[in-house]
């Protein structure tokens, strides 16, 4: 019966086809690793580990060290975390524990819309609305009150690490708050009731039971946010001021790893310059890859519940 055999072949072919497309995902990741390493090879050979610790980035003399951009990335991302974690978790507590449904749904929706706004629109807003406000209001205030710290000293430019940190904070807030909210909603009510029945207030119940129960999921949310902040490109590029110098002051213009690529990649003429930029892209890829793996593992763990309390 040739007809039947044909159907069988079709059947096999379809399954194989889907597998082929699924494998493409692995091929793409593998391809990224391969081509990025290949592209970065000249810089890897020339500078080795010095690339990570040298502060000299000089396209004319072809000497490249990525330290200022690594610093800019870490400083702006950490600042973003410092701002976004309390805000995001606080908002998640309100949305998961306190808000009545008729407030919860539209507010959660609005916060999720924040995640849909294109990065370049954040950059535009950051450049023309937020940065002038930072220069005129926030930075003078910080210098007056916290100027004894080197972080808050120096002329107020508006654009700089502080501006990048604030924009990144706004951009990772939805990630942190919506993942934390999901995690808190997954905490069984029996846990809350047990604490309330002991005479705990709503806050005590949240702080001592709900948040610890969802702890690893919330940490996962934070790492996910960190991954986004490190790799976030356009908004950071537009508000960080693009300076090749390194300064401790948060008011000072700087560059992130992503922003230096945007600024110089299309104009890089020498092989070594291009390779150095590709190496930066590769480092960025590796770091975000590791953070993402870590975050997903943590979030997955919470979805299964803490050890020893799996329900039948």
């Amino acid at each position: 019966m040739p007809g039947k055999r044909l159907v069988l072949y079709g059947e096999r072919a379809f399954g194989a086809l889907t597998l082929g497309f699924a494998l493409l995902v692995l091929v793409l990741i593998g391809g990224m690793v391969y081509y990025l390493i290949q592209g970065a090879a000249p810089a890897l050979a020339e500078f080795g580990w010095r690339f990570l610790v040298s502060r000299r980035w000089d396209a004319v003399h072809e000497v490249f060290g990525a330290l200022p951009f690594i610093y800019g990335t870490i400083a702006s991302s950490l600042l973003a975390l410092v701002l976004a974690v309390p805000l995001g978790v606080g908002a998640a507590v309100y949305l998961a524990e306190l808000a009545p449904p008729w407030i919860r749904t539209p507010l959660s929706f609005m916060i999720e819309l924040l995640a849909a706004v294109p990065s370049v629109v954040y950059g535009l807003w950051g450049l023309f609305v937020m940065a002038p406000w930072l220069r005129a209001v926030v930075e003078p205030w910080l210098e007056r009150h916290l100027g004894f710290l080197p972080l808050f000293r120096g002329p107020a430019f508006g654009v700089g690490i502080l501006a990048a940190g604030v924009v990144l904070a706004i951009m990772i807030l939805p990630t942190i708050s919506s993942v934390s909210r999901e995690v808190m909603l997954a905490v069984p009510d029996s846990q809350r009731e047990a604490m309330l029945a002991l005479g705990a207030t709503r806050w005590e119940t949240t702080w001592k039971v709900v948040i610890p129960y969802g702890r690893s999921g919330i940490i996962g949310a934070v790492i996910l946010g960190l991954g986004r902040a490190l790799g976030e490109t356009m908004a950071a590029t537009m508000v960080i001021g693009n300076s090749l110098n390194m300064s401790l002051s948060l008011f000072h213009p700087a560059n992130t790893m992503a922003s230096i690529i945007v600024n110089e990649f299309a104009e890089a003429v020498t092989r070594l310059h291009t390779a150095a930029l590709i190496e930066i892209a590769f480092i960025l890829f590796l770091v975000t890859l590791i953070l993402n793996v870590l975050a997903r593992l943590l979030v997955w763990r919470v979805a299964r519940g803490p050890r020893g309390l799996r329900r039948e």
Partner: protein, 251 residues
């Protein structure tokens, strides 16, 4: 000090759905009062009204009065948080806090009230002894509460409730998730606790009610059908519906 509870004209709702109708009941101090009835008869809702946990559920509502030693717990100025320190609760499924150690589970309540140091250790030990768990866990107080067996977890939850030094102990089908041996331990435990605490226990199991309860109330479809000394209710029920329930004709 064990206290009495007087329930007057209690009604309860989940959203638009009424779960309890005009309940009137007097719970005697230092006695065990059993609440029986088929699934969905409102017995769990009832017990959750006694420590104002019902109102925590979204859309839930209560009317009527519940007097704890003469004071209405639903009075406008009454504070549910303070109330729950006086009325402890044990739930259907053991629900220890999985992120806390055995010690911390029991210490959670007293800690809220600011008990610290030696006094805290004393309270934890006393509560674990009362719950009959001390001998089994004294050497591993720092292990996770979730590492215990089901029956031990439930006794841990009882110790946790006792540690706040309540006057009334509410138990919502505390043995429904346990094996017979653990059930027996908890029933024995209730007998020893009743000198100090007023106990209200919801149970699905009529034998359990007849074994442990001094007084029994029978609920059906959100209404209190009959209430009296356990022996009387089981041997000479006044209401035909009670009779058909205890003789196993429904539920």
């Amino acid at each position: 000090m064990a206290q009495s509870l007087t329930v007057e004209n209690l009604n309860a709702w989940y959203g638009d759905k009424q779960a309890l109708y005009e309940i009137n009941l007097h719970v005697l101090p230092a006695k065990i009062t059993g609440i029986i009835g088929p699934s969905g008869c409102g017995k769990s809702t009832f017990i959750r009204c006694l420590n104002r946990l019902h109102e925590v559920v979204r859309g839930a509502r209560v009317s009527g009065r519940v007097l704890l030693n003469g004071q209405d717990i639903y009075a406008p100025r009454a504070d549910p948080v303070l109330l729950r320190q006086r009325i402890g609760m044990v739930f259907q499924k053991p629900n220890p806090f999985p992120t806390m150690s055995i010690f911390e589970n029991v210490a959670a309540g007293p800690r809220l009230q600011g008990v610290r140091g030696a006094a805290l250790h004393e309270v934890v030990e006393r509560s674990l002894v009362q719950a009959g768990l001390w001998e089994e866990v004294r050497d591993r107080l720092s292990q996770s509460g979730a590492s215990l067996s089901g029956g031990q977890q439930q006794r841990l939850c009882i110790a946790r409730a006792l540690a706040v030094n309540p006057e009334v102990l509410l138990m919502d089908e505390p043995c429904s998730a346990l094996d017979p041996a653990s059930t027996l331990r908890i029933e024995e435990l209730m007998g020893s606790l009743k000198e100090h605490y007023t106990i209200v226990i919801v149970t699905h199991n009529m034998q359990q009610a007849s074994r442990v309860a001094d007084y029994t109330a029978f609920f059906l479809e959100g209404r209190l059908i009959e209430y009296g000394p356990t022996a009387e209710l089981f041997t000479r029920p006044q209401d035909p519906r009670t009779e058909s329930y205890i003789t196993g004709r429904f539920g």
